[in-house]
Symmetry: D2
Amino acid sequence: MHENNFRVNPHSLKTAISRVEKDKIVTRGYNQRDLIEKIRYSDMVFLILKGRLPSAKEGRMFNQVLVSFCDHGVTPPSTQTARLVASSGSPINSAVAGALLSFGHKHAGAIEKTMELFQSKINSLYLTEDSELDNKQIAGLAIDIFNEYTYGNKKIPGFGHRYHDVDPRAEKLMELAIKQGFIGPHIKLALAVEDLIHEKKGIRLNVDGANAAILSDLGFTPDLGLGVFIIGRVPGIIAHIHEEKMDEDEFRKFCDLDDIEYYGR
Amino acid sequence: MHENNFRVNPHSLKTAISRVEKDKIVTRGYNQRDLIEKIRYSDMVFLILKGRLPSAKEGRMFNQVLVSFCDHGVTPPSTQTARLVASSGSPINSAVAGALLSFGHKHAGAIEKTMELFQSKINSLYLTEDSELDNKQIAGLAIDIFNEYTYGNKKIPGFGHRYHDVDPRAEKLMELAIKQGFIGPHIKLALAVEDLIHEKKGIRLNVDGANAAILSDLGFTPDLGLGVFIIGRVPGIIAHIHEEKMDEDEFRKFCDLDDIEYYGR
Amino acid sequence: MHENNFRVNPHSLKTAISRVEKDKIVTRGYNQRDLIEKIRYSDMVFLILKGRLPSAKEGRMFNQVLVSFCDHGVTPPSTQTARLVASSGSPINSAVAGALLSFGHKHAGAIEKTMELFQSKINSLYLTEDSELDNKQIAGLAIDIFNEYTYGNKKIPGFGHRYHDVDPRAEKLMELAIKQGFIGPHIKLALAVEDLIHEKKGIRLNVDGANAAILSDLGFTPDLGLGVFIIGRVPGIIAHIHEEKMDEDEFRKFCDLDDIEYYGR
Amino acid sequence: MHENNFRVNPHSLKTAISRVEKDKIVTRGYNQRDLIEKIRYSDMVFLILKGRLPSAKEGRMFNQVLVSFCDHGVTPPSTQTARLVASSGSPINSAVAGALLSFGHKHAGAIEKTMELFQSKINSLYLTEDSELDNKQIAGLAIDIFNEYTYGNKKIPGFGHRYHDVDPRAEKLMELAIKQGFIGPHIKLALAVEDLIHEKKGIRLNVDGANAAILSDLGFTPDLGLGVFIIGRVPGIIAHIHEEKMDEDEFRKFCDLDDIEYYGR
């Protein structure tokens, strides 16, 4: 009887995220009433993405990841895009959308690439329960990565920053991971690569590299790396849009005619 | 000497949000190293938007606001848009951007309109320190609003939901506001309007209405209402995009030719 | 029997634009095979938007409208947004989307506002068949508009350009409208207002104003003004994105840290 | 003296597309006054993308390409996205942007992939002036492609359509290319592959495949394929957005709660 109905839209209405009934919403198995009352927003983000609540240690680290992404002033192309769109008089959601479109592979793609690198290397190991042995293996991986990229004349993703020598977010995150005893194999690998690349080239881990390692140890696959970054950065973007709309003239001129170099016919 | 330089881009590089120096990032006056170590992500959101940290009571309530926005299954147009864009093979940031574009005045605009309504009414009062007197005034406002919209044959924004009779998020948020002693004039007004409209028409406060009242009592102006909603909803949208990419065939057919009604020439 | 089917999606699959059958596509009543073989692309645009083919005179004028929108170098915020998004390594469709989001009410909204102004004024007239009488009425309208905006201390939409004294596109379009005998009441009104505002304030019609008048005389309502502008401008935006991707370094730095003024705490 | 100025923004204001001076705009070496008066819109698109005007034969073919992309009813995800965004009450430019974001590699990416395939194969040939010899070489290439994809169990891009057996646009475009004497090596290759794949598997060239061949013979590189498709499709998308806004209720329900299958906890 419903044959036609199911042919029309066979899959489009399937989800495991939230069950919505009249007067009741259940997300990842928890009543939203309970979630609203009892959990931190960062735990809610973890829950909705991973399908389970974090442990206390995981929750603390994930919260720190989100905070570390919040803002980098007006230097990123995404923030500049947000402000340009806002200056044209477009609504706030359009300006956020514009900013997200600037998260191309050169701007925000680094975190996924770094997660892929770390995870593919760690997945290639046979990890024992013996931490000394494993540390040795991971040190070996770090040398492999360093050599592979150096001989290929490529940048290792997750290292180096165009404005910072020591990315303060990366340094603090690694310090906290150690202090809080949250060090899995991916963080170990990140630190081992940093030791090498710092010694040889004076380059340090950046915020993407640090978070790639932490998210990997939290069990996130690379395909969610950009998603977590977006969640962390959107508040900063909205703050910039609001500032643009409050403090600047609409449709302000970003250049004068004689600032443009024309090199065509 | 720098005349040309300043003429080019006189304002584009001004901000009060973050100061970025080599190896140091300061946001709203706080070193990001400290923020990463010490504050909850929901407090970071508050800080970056409002320029100050919340009190403990404010922080708890704001956290609950963010959690309450997280997800409403696949029913909202924004979620459906996110999944459509993702199904075409576009990257995750494009799919989130698409979802945000669906936050038009009919979908996500309600929170700002409700904040405007509540704040314009409350701003018209001369609030005393005498809570009995003020409650009386607010009860009067509620009657004004009810009459104004009923006689104008218009829907009061922030009330009624197309899937719920009792929006469980709104009910829980109001319960928590009362329990936690976080009741300012806007929440009082929301509850007073709800009493009236529920008695006369069986309609209740929805999640937008409840959050409009809370955000107003937290000191947010209407122009940030949609921004807070976006921050709260983005994690849910990303979960749906990820689910679409993992569990569904790419470029799945959403309709067959004979499901379409053509009414042109 | 199909009750459920129709309840699901009662309207979503209705259209009068194209009928798609297996191996056959009919648009606005014409077989696409014929359209591909026989009509100019600008006529196709007219047909799909208005539901009928233009007359020869209309088609010529509409073609000129589209050409006039094509590009204004790197000065518009939309073009700058397109280049910023492209510089981040995002794909071309994302960069075009970003550009479109910069068509806020300050950048590209002028054409709709001008169409609304011209059409609301002309619709208030009782046009006779006597052109002398009508010209007199239209001259009166122009004075009304000028006075209304001057006394209200507002800019008349469609007049003045931040880079040009005489917008060459507007001047050429009006010259062609006259030469080709395509002058309806909206073009007459635009020219009458220009005479006044030029005499009194030295301000001339701009490209939005000229096209608002022409599109109004072509029978377009204001809600399609921005749509026609988008169609005209997208080729230019794509040329800029391509140029950015070919000629510039990806993720080039748009500012240095000491170019930013921080005025927060 | 201007050192600082150039450091700030060393490249951002360079373009070869249009030179904008006060009261004068020159695009690709032509005064826009002349372009507006004299050329077809499709020629303007060619000019701005390629930097030169097309020959008469090229111009005719390119016009046909653009017309052929205009609309495919409500079946494509991009059109459905456009309507969803529009239904939420968002402005027209946001709805077009949403549609463009649905041009992922599965929906609109085929044209670029097909151009890459055809061009990489043709570039590997040493084309003589002897058309019989060249035809033989191209026939050989077609067999290579067919075998490569068949043995790899992959779909050849540019062939097959989920709604059509014979894509009427592809068939008409190939017929016109032949009739108008516009047959370069890429079109020959497309036809040769079609002969094989039709004979062996009953599959025909689709609109993307036909246009990939034509655009390749027009001298477009693959990185502009999606751009040309966008230019051609935007008018259809705008027609759908307009229809949605005119003919449908805002924020119409696209599903009921019991149409959704929840398969989570």
